[in-house]
């Protein structure tokens, strides 16, 4: 892996954000981007505006020739090969650069889906698991965009429950082919892709992946789905009817396909979050510019408090989403930088390394897709009736956002993964979670002296962050004590835990970034303050649910007293912060710092 520039992000363990306190200089922030990364971002931004948005009507009308031409142009610019090795025309750059490009290109949900399905779930399986022969045959074509890739896992009765797929493969009598039978559903890019990574069970048992070329005997594509959103992306079923796949097109090891399926998703998740940042800021720009010019009661509606609140809440959440995405992807890069890229097992190590951050990836996925959801909703509302008609982009953004809570693992599954993965790593001793829970439980029982405060004007916010961490650990302690190994069956509790844990990661990333940059970006502090208020309200709400469900009846009162101490905070004046943020953003006409 080539890094565009060395930044001294600290190598931290996946999940450690919950139990350790980092210093501002330990985390990566968008302000740490190298000059090259900034240039790459500017190029991708210009491309997105001038090429993607400029053709949005045709893209939305499913003119796939436009999408294919755009992909070819992206190939020429080198943007399809960021994760690919140099011998196949790629650049093997760091993950921050790849997330950054995904973010900047994501001005249209439809095209962002086409792009991400190609470079991430479409191409990464081949990069990570392909043999030299397979890469020689396909990878260069995917890097140039001559061939578009597609990933086919879901079936009508197996979505989140992916291991339950029914598509079967059997070896032909002459041993030269696998014969596949089954049907895949909701396959992105299927309408024009040339190469498909298809999952099937050999003899109904061994979960495996296969590379299938379009036009292979017995392989056909069904009709385009009519979708709520991302209408300009292609989504079709695949029909495998005695489909003859050469044995050399088995990807990875027979029976080990689940590794491919799941490890790819971690990358898919942090990239989805990066994409959601751009989706949110694009909707924000559209909303603010509309509101700025919309006059009601004799003045621009941006002069009204409730309009300003929507603008401020959304801006604060975009700031947090941006903070958390780059903090996590930066941490992944810092971990990957320790690997030897010439090792023969390099890609296995890469996956292991990224998997260490599986909880963070899941948090990014559900938290940022929900921030996007709130952003498009608030921004549509600013348009009033015009938000509900196709004439303005708010309507499309609103529809396009919705899929993000479904694909790359539903937000429910990602909540379960977040809590489950952290507990699993704690139990295994890979993360010092259990001692931390122990410490906090004792601390809380004794009324807990607070740690010294260190971050000057942001002390109040850091105190809330510390409380949120304690609430997460305290609740984890209650839940594991009450339910033990049965906790994974208590989805409501798992979900509420994940929500508190997610807010901890968001707050931690946002506040540390703010201390790091507030000298140069005066608005950062106000945004962080405003976000802390929004975030801590969600922590409190989840804490209450957790307490009710996870506390033993005879201890509820004592626990409730302890929890009240943790959730007690002097409210800040969010009207003041909100108005300041709104004034700044309205003036800029977009999200900026």
């Amino acid at each position: 892996m080539t890094t565009t520039e060395a930044h001294s992000t600290k190598r931290v363990k996946g999940g450690s954000f919950l139990i350790e306190d980092l210093q501002p200089q330990d985390i990566f922030t968008p302000e740490d981007l190298s000059q090259e990364q900034v240039q790459i971002a500017e190029m991708a931004t210009a491309f997105a505006e001038e090429k993607i948005l400029a053709q949005i009507q045709a893209i939305e009308a499913k003119d796939f020739e436009i999408s294919k031409a755009l992909m070819l142009e992206l190939g020429e610019l080198g943007l399809l090969g960021i994760d690919a090795p140099e011998e196949y025309g790629g650049l093997a750059l760091d993950k921050v650069t790849s997330a950054l490009v995904t973010e900047k290109l994501s001005v249209s949900g439809s095209f962002a889906t086409t792009f991400s399905a190609h470079v991430t779930i479409g191409t990464l399986p081949l990069i990570w698991y392909g043999t030299k022969g397979q890469k020689d045959r396909y990878l260069s074509k995917l890097v140039t965009g001559d061939w578009i890739a597609s990933y086919a896992l879901s079936e009508s009765s197996a979505g989140s429950d992916a291991m339950n797929i029914r598509t079967k493969a059997r070896l032909s009598d002459d041993g030269k082919h696998y014969i596949l039978n089954g049907e895949k559903m909701w396959i992105t890019n299927a309408g024009f892709a040339s190469l498909f990574t298809v999952f099937a069970k050999i003899d109904g048992e061994q979960f495996s992946a296969f590379l299938i070329e379009r036009g292979t005997e017995g392989f056909s594509i069904g009709k385009e789905e009519h979708k709520l959103g991302i209408r300009g992306s292609s989504t079709c079923p695949l029909i495998l009817n005695d489909c003859k796949v050469p044995v050399e097109n088995l990807l990875g090891t027979a029976g080990k396909g689940h590794q491919i399926a799941f490890n790819i998703l971690n990358v898919g998740r942090y990239k989805l979050a990066a994409s959601a940042v751009r989706g949110s800021s694009t909707a924000f720009r559209d909303g603010v510019r509309y509101a700025k010019n919309r006059v009601g009661f004799g003045k621009p509606i941006t002069e009204f408090g409730l309009v300003q609140k929507k603008i401020a809440d959304t801006a604060a959440e975009i700031y947090a989403a941006e903070s958390v995405v780059y903090r996590v992807v930066g941490a992944i890069d810092a971990a990957l930088a320790e690997l030897d890229s010439t090792s023969s097992t390099y890609y296995q190590q890469v996956q292991k390394c990224i998997e260490e951050f599986a909880a963070e990836c899941s948090i990014l996925k559900f938290a940022c897709s929900e921030i996007l959801d709130r952003a498009v909703d608030q921004m549509l509302q600013l348009h009033g009736g015009y938000g509900y008609v196709e004439e303005f982009p708010a309507e499309r953004s609103y529809r396009d956002a919705r899929i993000n809570k479904i694909y790359e693992g539903t937000n429910e599954i990602n909540r379960i993964i977040t809590t489950g993965w952290l507990i699993k790593r704690g139990v295994k001793g890979e993360l010092a979670l259990m001692p931390a829970i122990q410490r906090v439980s004792e601390d809380v029982a004794q009324g807990g002296a607070d740690m010294p405060v260190v971050h000057g004007t942001m002390n109040g916010e850091f105190a809330q962050l510390r409380s949120a961490k304690k609430i997460a650990l305290f609740s984890l302690g209650l839940a594991t004590a009450k339910f033990g190994t049965d906790l994974s069956e208590q989805q409501e509790v798992m979900g509420a835990l994940a929500e508190v844990i997610a807010e901890v990661l968001l707050l931690d990333s946002t506040l540390l970034r703010t201390v790091k940059i507030s000298g140069a970006k005066p608005m950062a502090e106000t945004l962080a303050r405003h976000f802390t208020s929004l975030s801590f309200a969600r922590v409190k709400s989840a804490a209450e649910r957790l307490l009710g469900a996870a506390s033993e009846d005879d201890k509820l009162e004592g626990h409730a007293t302890a929890m009240r101490r943790l959730t007690a905070n002097a409210p800040i004046n969010t009207v003041t912060t909100g108005r300041a943020i709104a004034a700044f953003m309205v003036e800029a006409g977009q999200y900026t710092l």
Partner: protein
């Protein structure tokens, strides 16, 4: 052939201008290569690729931060860059002095620069540079190729367009429509870091600006929010004409 592409760094067109202490404050603005100059870079690259052995040198005269703009030009494909560091404001005539000195020193055959500056709106740089060098200049160029060592192109004049052939050396100023500037490719962005970027202090050139900026202000157009009662159309029309004549003074 050595082509000198002169560029400037200006606020992005979407930025609003802020003032601080009576001066334009760009410290928090997004800064980009002037679009007109981008046409110049693109054309320089095309001419270079058409004539084997050619070189594109990109030049900026301005504050240290202009390095970023020069890196952008290198990422588009320019071969090397020169930054003459001048933190104080320099008017176009002063800049032309530096450009002319560098053109001589570098033995440039062709200078390309933007037809009009996006920030100060001046169109003087190309003309002033040509005057100092005693080279011919063609302004507002919208087509340019090289044939047998001669420039062949088309440009706008007051009465329409004019086709020209021109011997080198020459100064050409650009305008929209000349070409569509390329995006820097990712590999070129990575390579740009290793390309030569020379920095000279402005003091090396003995240039003193003739223009001094005394102050700056943003003109705010306040709305009158006057609504004419249209119940009596005749009266309203008369009032409107009166306002347009006496208040707006447009008729």
């Amino acid at each position: 052939m050595r082509i000198l592409a002169v560029i400037r760094q200006v606020p992005d067109a979407e930025e609003s201008i802020k003032l601080k202490d009576g001066k334009v404050d760009l410290s928090s603005s997004k800064l980009v290569i002037d679009t007109m100059d981008e046409y110049g870079i693109e054309q320089a690259l095309r001419l270079r690729d058409a004539v084997p052995g050619s070189e594109v040198v990109v030049l900026a005269v301005g504050p240290e931060r202009c390095e970023q703009a020069l890196r952008g030009a290198l990422a588009m494909g320019a071969d090397r860059a020169v930054l003459v560091v001048a933190e104080a404001f320099l008017d176009a005539i002063a800049v032309s002095d530096v450009v002319a000195q560098i053109a001589r020193k570098e033995q440039a055959d062709l200078i390309l620069c933007g037809g009009q500056q996006a920030d100060w709106d001046s169109q003087a740089l190309g003309a002033a540079t040509a005057e100092r060098l005693a080279w011919p200049q063609v302004t507002w160029t919208n087509a340019l190729t090289i044939e047998g060592g001669q420039l062949v192109g088309r440009h706008d004049i007051d009465a329409g367009t004019e086709e020209f052939t021109l011997a080198l050396p020459a100064v050409i100023t650009t305008q929209q429509g000349l070409n569509e500037p390329r995006y820097p490719t990712l590999p070129n962005i990575m390579k740009a870091k290793k390309k030569e970027l020379r920095k000279d202090p402005i003091s090396d050139y003995g240039v003193t600006p003739r223009l001094e900026v005394l102050g700056a202000e943003v003109q705010v157009r306040a709305r009158r929010r006057t609504i004419l009662d249209g119940k009596d159309a005749r009266l309203a029309a008369a009032q409107l004409v009166d306002l347009l004549r006496k208040e707006a003074r447009v008729i």
